[in-house]
Each structure stands twice: as structure tokens, then as C-alpha cells.
Symmetry: C2
DNA sequence: CCGAATTGCTTGCTCGAACAACTAACTTCA
DNA sequence: TGAAGTTAGTTGTTCGAGCAAGCAATTCGG
């Protein structure tokens, strides 16, 4: 909403001193940059507890929901199966996760957080809160809501396109 | 089946049909998801011309600005030096780019788009236009402006946090 | 002028992520 | 029951991206 005024000339509102590659796909480009720096920041914060960006989502899910099938993790994280396989293996190697075969279905592996990982939980939750605070900074609740709506709209647009492409195939 | 299957009818799928991991850091999470699908879509489109997401930015810069130092590419793409090194090497191997040492400064390599790459230019520009269209879908100009402003704000917030962290060090 | 930063680029390592292809373990159904 | 199909998980490969080192050319300061 706001001013619907596009005459601000300086369309590159995000002139945070970063370079711009022409002005091709302004929104796409902005998504690109926001995503990159967001992930970078998450990575910097998570590194302090020995996790890599992405792994924290998996751990949080395990902490919240308890032991579950790897396929559930794949679905809920909306990740590729191979990504989850390897991520879980690394977390296992790091001692944060334990895997066991399902007694009822020979195909599935059950993944669960180890007691050792519990010490991380508080730290990771603090990090996520910090990251969120840095992301929204001084936006008030209404603004945050608007941002969420905007991101949701982008996601819906992209999902629709991706889906129609997939159907083509 | 049945047995201890995780409650299948869970309400997790609530929102956009995608999984949600609790509601930790809603905005962060939304950024995460938008970024992922955006990159996925870009990758699907670019794959048709033999590029990987990220490489197109480099090529577009070369097409727009002509031969330039690798360090300039690094700065303008806001990428890591190693990333650019390897990306340029792959593009060189693919025949889209040529490298030559600077005659005036023994440290620098000049990168330029090859004539062969020119055939890609139209295709890549079409792809970016398509991607942008898919991203914004049916938003009117005012809305797009608002989205850009929002993303710019997020980027500024994140950049500020990242910067202050860097200063700490 | 010469030793000390700085700059430009590269290699080594790790990780998330995507696609492809494959195995093993269920399900379905004719 | 048994062949066909589906589901779960794995490995192989490629790529962007990050950090850490390291090397060589150039610039800076005493």
C-alpha cells in the first residue's frame, strides 16, 4: 500500500552500497540479494554452535516433534531426499542425531535428536530469535505482517509457475 | 502400516501447502522458502541454455559492460573471490568467456564474453524477463514498487547486522 | 631503495542443493 | 500368488557459496 508513488526515481532503494547488474528483473534480483545475505548471516550465527545453515531447521523439527521418519523430514523441510540423507549423516557424525531402522517397515529410517544435542537447543532458538530480530529490525507488527504477506505472495506466484512447468513435463 | 505413524492428518500443511517447521522466525522462514523456490525456478529455466543459477548474472554483466577485471565482477556481483574464480573457469571451459592477463598489472585477469556467448544473450534476457514475470505475476506497478521497497528494507536490515558483526571481529 | 602492507587471484575443504540413476522393501491388483 | 508399481533411502556428479591459506605482483612508508 503506502504511496503507490513510483516516481521516486531512485528505484534502487536498496542502494546499500552494493553493486547492481543493470536493472534486469529488479524483484528477482532483490530476492537474490536478500536471500544471500540472510543465509550468510544465519551461517555466521550458526557457526558458533557448529551447525550449517539448513541443519538447524532439521534439528528444530526433531526437537519439536520427536523421532520421525526421514521421509517426514524431507517433506516438511521441502527438501530433496538426497539433501536430507547427507545432512542427517553429517549430523549423525557430529553426534547431534541418531538413526535407527523402523521395526515395522524395512525401508524407513527413524531419526531422532540425541541427548547431546539438547544442549544446542537453547542456543539455536536464541540464534533464530536473533536472526529474526535482525531481519525485521524496527518494523512494527503491522509492517511485519505486510512483509509476511508480500513474501507469501511471491512464494505463491513462484510455486504456481514451478508447478505449471512441472506439469508440462 | 498404521502403527506409530506420525499423525498423518497433522495441521502442518496449513499455509501454502508447504511444510512449516513450527513458526519460528516467520519472516526468516519465508525468506528461506521464497529464495529456494526462486532459485529452483531460475535453475530450471537457465538449464535450457546450459547455465547454472548465478552464472547468468556474471554473463549479463559482461554483455552489458564489456571486458573487465575479475575483481570488478567480484565486487559488482557481491560474491566471494573464490566463487568468481571457479565460475569464470567453468564458463571459460564452456566457451562463454575468455580470460587474458592485463598488460599493465600482472595480478589482474581481464574477463570478456566470447562471440560464441552472444547467441545466449537473447535467450538469457528472455529467461530473466520470464522469471520476473512469474515472480511478480499479476502485481500492478505500484505493488511491485512496494515489494521492491520491502525487499530493500530487509536487505538494509540484514546488511546492517552483518556489518556490525563484522566490525565486532 | 627496500622491507612491509595491500591487492588480485587461486586452491583446498566443507556444505546445501539439484538431477539422475539405482537398490531394497513394501503395496496393489489381476 | 506373483508381476507391476510405488515408496524410502542411497550414491554419484555438478555447482554456488563460504572460510582458510597461500602465492605473486604492486604499492606504500621509512
Amino acid at each position: 500500500m503506502s504511496t503507490t508513488n513510483s516516481a521516486d526515481g531512485d528505484a534502487a532503494a536498496a542502494d546499500s552500497g552494493r553493486g547492481r547488474v543493470s536493472n534486469a528483473g529488479p524483484v528477482s534480483h532483490a530476492i537474490f540479494r536478500v536471500a544471500r545475505i540472510h543465509k550468510l548471516l544465519a551461517g555466521q550465527l550458526l557457526r558458533e554452535v557448529g551447525l550449517h545453515p539448513g541443519q538447524e531447521l532439521l534439528m528444530m523439527r526433531l526437537w519439536d516433534e520427536g523421532p520421525q521418519r526421514q521421509a517426514d523430514l524431507t517433506a516438511v523441510l521441502d527438501a530433496d531426499a538426497p539433501t536430507v540423507t547427507r545432512s542427517v549423516r553429517r549430523l549423525e557424525r557430529a553426534g547431534f542425531v541418531r538413526r535407527s531402522p523402523s521395526p515395522t517397515d524395512g525401508r524407513v529410517t527413524i531419526v531422532e535428536a540425541t541427548p547431546a544435542s539438547m544442549g544446542l537447543r537453547q542456543a539455536v532458538e536464541r540464534i533464530w530469535a536473533d536472526l529474526e530480530r535482525m531481519t525485521v529490525a524496527d518494523m512494527d507488527d503491522g509492517r511485519q505482517d505486510g512483509v509476511l504477506r508480500t513474501l507469501g505472495e511471491l512464494e505463491r506466484n513462484l510455486t504456481a509457475s514451478e508447478k505449471s512447468r512441472a506439469d508440462d513435463r
